[in-house]
Symmetry: C2
Subunit: 483 residues, 2 copies
């Protein structure tokens, strides 16, 4: 270990021994992203316990031009919380700041520190008859600060929006160490540029989110989960429009699943079974919820809606979960797709969006183009169709030898083509995972000058020393390529 510079000793003093380590074994788990694609180095792992400590750390970093890499649960998908390999930055963990400051069921607002783990927030709110309507696979480690900084999504965006829609107020430490106190939940505030909106989805490149005021909704009373078979993505979209026009306020899930994904799950994941026999070419997982005591029973509602959909020829068949364990079994299929696919063979993943009304055609047309251009590949698109966002996976030809080689070679040719097709459809190459390291150069390649100059101007203006998570998100001229 190199000698500790004075500024680093100063940081150590601020956070105390519980919040400071340079020991390799302590730092190691946090220096590789959870998908295992990036491994970095850092001077130290510094874990402040309060906003004041974060502010003091940032002031030192600012004075000495030291890069800070903020990190929550280290469960991001694009390497946004992993330092580069030069070892000149400080890894700043927010995990010790794990206090829920206030829960107000009456106002439907909760104030919590950046390091609160999503699953813990869910549990705490449940005791107050409230619910935070955002969840995702990494809920056991993902923190509020990370979810804010990546504008996280998930399966409930359809009704409740992404993190951006759920943040009523923010507290953050800006690059000079000053504290931005915007926690007050003002429904209306026209005092100029909304700084909160820059920090949400800012990936820690403009400041460090230290706390958030979050909107909550009433706890679920009950839900009904159904599985419907349809003939095509276009038919799935028609079903979505039918349901959404009638029940936008109780339709909380609408996920599409092609037969190939279902088959992979049935093959590789224990204790799964097909909801419908025979299986349809495309499937839709529907969740209808009730969270107000005087509204209609979700099971009755689902039965009535699906009966009408059947009459109209919108679906070929449907199964309604008879109880909660069957509901969970349906969701397990959806949630196991990625795992099943890994067992099936290598696949390049793309987290993309296009305007909702264009998604069905995009799946069909872009899928056909990719399969034609790269013979033997198979496209599997599944997920949040009601948000215009699917996971667009391109599977390697069967029997491909050297899966890692195929992955790294294909990432250079297939992914750019997928992204080009997305841009041609006015879509986004990152619907919910963010840019981080993984997509930074693609963002630069595919953005208009107007967008890119503006992103750079904002980054440079607010963080002129480029100490806030450098190398992430914004393709600055001075960035070294992501390694």
């Amino acid at each position: 270990m190199s000698e500790t510079p004075d500024w680093l000793n100063n940081m150590a003093e601020i956070v105390g021994p519980k919040g400071f380590t340079r020991a390799a074994e302590d730092m190691q788990p946090w220096l590789t992203d959870w998908r295992g694609r990036y491994t970095g180095k850092a001077h130290a792992l510094v874990s402040p316990a309060s906003t004041a400590e974060v502010s003091a750390i940032v002031k030192i970093a600012h004075a000495h031009s030291v890069a800070l890499v903020p990190q929550g649960g280290n469960s991001g998908m694009v390497g946004g919380a992993t330092p580069d390999s030069k070892g000149q930055s400080v890894l700043l963990s927010l995990r010790r700041m794990n206090r829920i400051r206030e829960i107000s069921a009456g106002s439907q607002l909760t104030v919590c520190d950046a390091g609160v783990i999503l699953q813990n927030l869910h549990a705490a709110l449940d005791e107050h008859g409230q619910r935070f309507p955002l969840t995702l696979g990494g809920k056991g480690s993902a923190t509020i600060g990370g979810l804010v900084s990546t504008n996280a999504g998930g399966t409930q965006v359809l009704r409740h929006g992404t993190m951006r829609a759920l943040v009523a107020g923010l507290e953050a430490v800006l690059p000079d160490g000053s504290i931005y106190d915007g926690l007050a939940p003002l429904k209306k505030d026209n005092r100029g540029y909304d700084l909160k909106q820059l920090l949400v989805g800012g990936e820690g490149t403009l400041g460090i989110v230290t706390a958030a005021t979050l909107k909550t909704v009433p706890a679920l009373i009950d839900r009904c989960v159904a599985w419907a078979g349809v003939s095509s993505p276009q038919a799935a979209y028609k079903l979505f429009q039918f349901l959404n026009a009638r029940e936008s306020q109780s339709l909380e899930g609408f996920e599409i699943i092609p037969k190939s994904c279902l088959d992979a799950v049935l093959t590789h994941i224990p204790d799964t079974r097909a909801p419908l026999e025979p299986a349809a070419p495309w499937n839709v997982l529907i969740e209808i919820i009730r969270d107000q005591s005087d509204s209609i029973d979700p099971r009755e509602l689902t039965e009535s809606l699906l009966a009408k959909a059947m009459d109209k020829g919108l679906i070929s068949d449907a199964a309604i979960a008879a109880n909660e364990s069957q509901a969970e079994a349906f969701w397990k299929i959806r949630d196991s797709i990625s795992e099943a696919e890994r067992a099936d063979g290598p696949a390049l993943q793309h987290d993309i969006s296009v305007p909702v009304a264009q998604m069905a055609d995009f799946i069909t047309e872009a899928g056909a183009k990719i399969e034609a251009r790269f013979p033997g590949t198979e496209v599997a698109a599944f997920g949040h169709m009601g948000d215009g966002n699917v996971h667009f996976h391109v599977k390697a030809p069967p029997g491909t030898s050297g899966p890692q080689d195929w992955m790294s070679q294909s990432a250079q040719v297939i992914s750019p083509m997928v992204h080009d097709l997305v841009i041609a459809s006015n879509g986004s190459i990152s619907a919910e995972h963010g840019i981080g390291q993984t997509k930074r150069d693609e963002l630069g390649r595919l953005s208009s000058d107007a967008r890119m100059l503006t992103l750079r101007a904002i980054k440079t203006a607010i963080d002129p020393k480029n100490i806030m998570n450098p190398g992430k998100l914004v393709p600055l001229a001075s960035n070294t390529p992501a390694s």
Copy 2:
């Protein structure tokens, strides 16, 4: 008229004779804000007819460092669309860009030019069974571009949010003349800082909004309007919580009105009558709507809710409008308060917000402090309580002579005290009207360094020549005081 410089001739060529004038009589109506507080001068009134023309105009302005003052319907409340008195800027009207580009009822999205007048949009959508759920007094002149740039509010924010929540995509011309094409309505897009969010509420200081993709909702099937009497703002808030917990999806209006405002309306506005006898000290106007055919009749719902509220002692009395003309009569009372107040005598107006749960106490406590500090004044707070936003008016002592003198003197002492009280309650000195010229210096006085440095950094980075609506919103060090 001074000789026309070459760059101005170039602008004239771009827009043609229909879009260019330097004649005093043509320009005069647009050089004074509609409240009559500010009158400015300009080189010319330039009215482009397309986004390409706006881009070409801005490129010339950028090359010659000429200030541009964008203007829609000239119905703003804070002088944000009025040039300064130096006459060195160009007034850029978007009113000729008045085309609704596309209405899609199926996707519930509409794309329209910046110059489309709100009332015309309402009418066009009505023919498609859709509704744009934002309206305000100036709807006959206010344009979409102005509403976006000021993040407009109104009485439907409670359920549908401000303009920010209704904008699905934006097109704008940036200060160098480049076109930012962000019209695609992506529900999920995590490609970094959301430029759209800066332009919404940016008051034309970062770019010129040329078009927007707007979210629409189903047309109203029917509505029920009711008037309830309550004892205090605190009681009104309890009633709000009661209704909102049960019917947040159909509660579209919740406005509070003190008896003094009602009395002023009954005195000064013809054809108005008290909804309740005897009048309550505080009143609440409630609107419950139905926009889906299979949901409950709003009249039945309102009757049932108000009966329960009466049982619980939340209201003292209530009247439910028997028909649409009575519903309009109730709304007329609400909408006539400002006019009645003007007839009553001088009053200083403040457009303020605090967290919703704190508004009742704010009204009571801040009102008492102002009345104690300025004997003879009377505070009237009315409006959007469910949004934590009221119009906080301070009326002159009865019999005040020289109302204009009282207004200008009091604006120097009473308004700062109101604003100080708002800030002490973590509120905003501009809930919905914006900052413009009127509140720019107060914004500077009352903002934290963190907020102010960030606002300035963003403005300077995106508009380094300060040609975009200079002197508005951001208190730059180089600003001359608003005249």
